[in-house]
Subunit: 213 residues, 2 copies
DNA sequence: AAGCTCCATTGATATAAATCAAATTTGTAA
DNA sequence: TTACAAATTTGATTTATATCAATGGAGCTT
């Protein structure tokens, strides 16, 4: 366990003594695909570090549609802001695959670790990263129309392979599958991409960029 | 100048020596109402602390509409994230009133102050605050429809007095003045608010809450 | 007080994307 | 291979809000 904790960026510089203490105030907990780590609006005094698996963070709008904020991959701090400010979770976190988290008693963590310079530096990095994700959501979903969003997605993610479900892309971009399909078609007609079966190949990357900037 | 720096939360615990050094790597700079501190997409190696005045932070969408992210009041760090990650400013910052900032050479600040525990703690607080603002923008503009947004605004801001221009409220909520007017009307018909001239009085605060949650 | 200018309101129309409804394609299991 | 299920595409319609256009005050200026 100590070894595993040491592999977490946040704790990589802690002493053996600190790591032992850390191990005593936290534990690993497994989740299955589809299980929810926490719900939007709920409270918790646990700090979560995703160790394995993929977590989708999303809000729900008035029509029960998901607004996907981000997909988390290991190793990530999840929702540290709720801990830092003792506020309810701003989003729901749901496992997309099987995985597990390291779950820490936050009040004790704050007391014993938050003043550690490495820990606070990593926390700053993690918070900044999250700011970037939210900026990204705002840029994509408030500043761009449907076709521009799709062009941006293609520009940033490269060729779309079979395995990526259209439905998932649509959810990420905040579009319905129908609208996504129509946008792909527009971009195809512009000659910026070509499709062979389910896969798209990008023909003109700079052209795509033109569409969203 | 040293005294003024000491009044900044971020630096309140610094030694005289540190404050003198800080004064040597930064300076005060005045701005008039309407002037722009920085533009979305531009770079700077300056860290800005708003000392006086109000700053509007906004992005611009494809139709040249403003997406207001936040209004900053003194004393606030502005756009520290761009400094921390050496990335372009994610939004434009424009003075809404006359004011001034304390402008610090960021590379030197990072070298000499970032590891100070008080400074990093305050930085964490500031970043967390900004995350909350962005969450708020997402909740308001992506998860709620026009009338719900207005109800939420009324619920959170209380009675609307004459001095608050409808046009400004509309911009904050991401609505046109026409739509704002129609939403006010709906809420008035529901008997949740009443208007005497230009002022609104809230008649049923819990009723307002029902509309957006 | 008359006339102006600035907002706010109201009404009519336009627009982008969602929704609803098939039709078609792709994937999968028998 | 066939048949069924799921995903995608296409077309028609609806919906929420923006846009365009006109009207109606409220507060200023002279």
């Amino acid at each position: 366990m100590i070894d595993q904790l040491k592999s977490i960026f946040l704790f990589s510089h802690l002493s053996e003594e600190d790591l032992t203490h850390l191990a005593s105030i936290g534990k690993f907990r497994e989740y299955n695909s589809g299980e929810t780590l926490f719900y939007e609006g709920s409270f918790s005094d646990k700090l979560y570090i995703l160790m394995k698996g993929i977590i989708k963070a999303y809000k729900t709008d008035m029509k029960e549609n998901e607004i996907v904020l981000h997909y988390f991959y290991p190793v990530s701090l999840v929702a540290e802001m709720a801990n830092l400010y003792h506020i309810p979770f701003p989003a729901t976190a749901e496992f997309q695959t099987n995985g597990y988290v390291f779950e820490i008693d936050y009040p004790l963590f704050e007391r014993d670790f938050l003043k550690n310079p490495t820990v606070s530096f990593e926390l700053i990095k993690s918070l900044t990263q999250k700011l970037k994700y939210l900026e990204e959501v705002i840029t994509t979903r408030l500043a761009l129309d449907a076709t521009s969003r799709v062009a941006k997605f293609l520009y940033e993610n490269g060729d779309i392979s079979d395995s990526t479900k259209r439905h998932k892309i649509a959810t990420i971009l905040g579009l319905t599958p129908e609208t996504l399909s129509r946008s792909f078609k527009k971009i195809k007609i512009l000659g910026l991409i070509s499709d062979e079966g389910k896969n798209f190949t990008i023909l003109n990357r700079e052209g795509l960029k033109e569409l969203f900037s």
